[in-house]
Symmetry: C2
Subunit: 451 residues, 2 copies
């Protein structure tokens, strides 16, 4: 790990042609993401800031910064738009924040494959592909600002994962171009499984410059809300519609009461206290949805065609995934959340048992998806009425006791998150290869030290 | 059931403008399908022929025939191209064969929905949709000649069912236009679940005139064969690739040795005695297939791009589903087959146990797919070295004893096939509504009699 960071604030003078940000309040802001969703991370990451931010526009500018940092042993923390939740872009040991948001070119789309620079916003990528008949396979709810590199570095997937699984599923990310952190930086292309060794490591084992991803067919998605008085019926609709192979969809989200009550901008469409299923589906699946909803006692209370969605500049996708928590937090600062993975064989039973055990304290928000291996299931981003860290941990343990997997979103070290305690040898080998001096956000990886 | 069929051969003179076929050998041929795959059906259906065939070109011509038959109480058996396997188009009580193959217009394609007359060949439908960016969701191996109406009347699905499930999954067939068999025939549009009450009833409960189906995005499919020395490794590739949500495919077919040895036209590509996985996949999934095959010890021994497939006018799809059996039968007339449905929870274990129990006598041919509810599994069209009917039944019982579902392809009565002994009340209500005189191939339904 680097021990010399004194030089960070001197760097701008060595590379005066680059776009540096030195104003402390801006640097502090660019050292943050949405980790404040977690009262634990908010406390743990408090005061962790970079010393200076640089916003390169070309690969050559990136190379100049990286070479200089490697020579001067200055830590580098890579960031995109800062929409992550685990302090992905928060420097634990100061140094330079390498903001890639200006390195954002769309490179090409050939067949159902697209390639862009890491800093491209997902919305921009999607807009570039759409006229060619394609769209991104996954959109996190933060797609308007989130970058492709940021999603790869610390994201999971999002809307579309119900079809294509998480970003980590084979065949989604086809290749990445990566720069080493060395006095003479090298640039390599990694393909397929090799590329995935840099996924979800928060930019700690290589600087990802470009990403090549497989695309989905562009579809004019309809957006719907179906509300229910009955919890089990709502869960059944989400499950049945979500799993149905002939009903094309991009998103199925279950919101147990009273979560939807936090969606103040949608209040005119919703009955207070209702359980709500949010769906983004193909127009040809609408008749079946209506039939299914009416059979299960649901009320279709909101419907916008793709044209209406486009014209309104509002999308229900911004009520799903992490945005669900965000809307709730806007109304009640005393909330936080957890991330959970249910068992494909018995997720309905697990949900009902946990609702019975924790109703009122844990608000059930489920996202339906396919696992990396293709099994249909749901993951949860349950909203918690926060009392103490001890109780938060207790709730997570109750989930585990029901056979539900916990991705703890209240930790910031890579190994403590979904890597579940230890990194694969291939991930550590990438670290050694791409960051032999250990300059990429030192402290974020626990199980590696420079030789 | 009709008791008066004497008038059938007199019908042409009442409607001389229509295209009638009266030559007995042609009538006999048009009274047959591929039921000869089954030695049992071959015997049972022997000598069952219509008296006359009519090939209407318009709805009005169909109406004239149907009205006349209803007035004269002449049985009607609807047929398409005769690619079925259960005597769907074989008249059990003589009468008129209503050949819809000339009623074959493509009507329209709007968004991802297409509509055509029942007699359209699936290949023609696909060719009409492709320039608009769409294709059929399922292609049986008989797609070159099989009709859309025939697929709906007695088919299952085919290539593509790995994505969209069987044709019967909600959202695949959106609506049908149906004619009643009455002296004054009525025409109605049935949508969604109502339409599906006419599915897989072999044309016995209504004359389907037009079908409206949801479409898939057109994709330039690559065709591959991967061969293995190891049975379990081949099964694993088929399972893993088939289930992988990020790897787009249209077809995954497992062919245990020595099935592929029957494919004489592919012999130059295959090692005799190899276990073979046949895949039709998107180009962007090829790198992952190669990596997976090489990890599992498989050899990619055949690869054709979509352009090469189109130029060659040969497709591996014509080695899958029922065509697998056809190729084997061309080489060895002593073979027959069964149709089986494996348990999504344990299909690999079932396959391995049944292979251990019946190797040599039962040749394992599996088609990977999603069930109507969306579970990933495989179905089998196992090839059997036929000895006696008793042994054939014994083999099916051994399969059942392993928890595998049998769709017996050696029966021709609707209730004995996949309807599993009894028809849903809705299906019988449709019969009453659309064929109150019971003229549609009398004998094919057992559990309904005219009031």
């Amino acid at each position: 790990m680097s021990t010399c960071t004194a030089a960070a604030t001197d760097l701008p003078q060595h590379l005066p042609a680059l776009d540096w940000i030195t104003d402390p309040s801006r640097v502090a802001r660019l050292s943050q993401d949405f980790a404040w969703f977690s009262p634990v991370l908010k406390r743990e990451l408090s005061g962790k800031v970079g010393e200076v931010v640089v916003r390169p526009r070309t690969e050559d500018e990136i190379r100049q910064v990286v070479a200089l940092c490697a020579r001067e042993s200055v830590p580098i923390t890579v960031r995109g738009s800062g929409t992550g939740n685990y302090g992905q872009c928060t420097p634990l040991a100061g140094g330079v924040v390498l903001d890639l948001s200006a390195y954002n070119g769309f490179l090409w789309c050939r067949g159902a494959v697209g390639r862009a620079q890491a800093g491209i916003r997902l919305a921009e990528f999607d807009e570039r592909c759409r006229p060619l008949g394609h769209e991104l396979r996954w959109l996190p709810s933060t797609f308007r600002s989130a970058t492709l590199g940021g999603l790869f570095g610390g994201g999971f997937g999002g809307a579309g994962s119900i079809n294509y699984g998480p970003l980590a599923a084979p065949g989604n990310v086809l290749g990445v171009r990566v720069m080493t952190v060395e006095p003479e930086p090298q640039v390599l292309e990694l393909r397929g499984p090799d590329a995935m060794l840099l996924h979800h490591t928060y930019g700690t084992n290589g600087i990802v410059l470009e990403l090549e991803v497989a695309l989905a067919p562009a579809t004019p998605w309809t957006e719907c809300l179906v509300e229910f008085d009955d919890y089990g019926a709502a869960l059944q609709l989400a499950t049945e519609f979500g799993a149905a192979p002939g009903l094309l969809k991009k998103e199925v989200c279950f919101l147990g009461a009273p979560i939807a009550d936090y969606f103040t901008a949608l209040a005119e469409h919703l009955t207070p206290g209702a359980h709500v299923v949010l769906l983004v589906l193909a127009p040809e699946a609408e008749a079946a949805l209506q039939a299914m909803a009416s059979r299960l006692g649901g009320r279709l209370c909101y419907r916008k065609s793709a044209d209406e969605v486009a014209a309104s500049h509002r999308t229900l996708l911004e009520y799903t995934w992490n945005h669900t928590t965000l809307h709730a937090l806007k109304v009640d600062k005393g909330l936080t959340y957890i991330q959970t993975g249910f068992d494909p064989q018995r997720f309905q039973a697990q949900v009902l048992a946990l609702e019975a055990a924790l109703a009122g304290e844990v608000l059930m928000h489920l996202e339906f998806l396919r696992t990396k291996e293709g099994a249909f299931t749901c993951s949860g981003l349950q909203i918690i009425r926060y009392t103490t860290e001890a109780r938060l941990n207790e709730i997570m343990q109750i989930y585990r006791d029901h056979g539900v997997f916990i991705n703890n979103p209240h930790v910031y070290v890579v190994e403590d998150g979904k890597q579940a305690g230890q990194l694969a040898p291939g991930v550590l080998a990438m670290k050694q290869r791409f960051d032999p001096q250990g300059l990429l956000n030192p402290g974020k990886l626990r199980s590696w030290a420079p030789a």
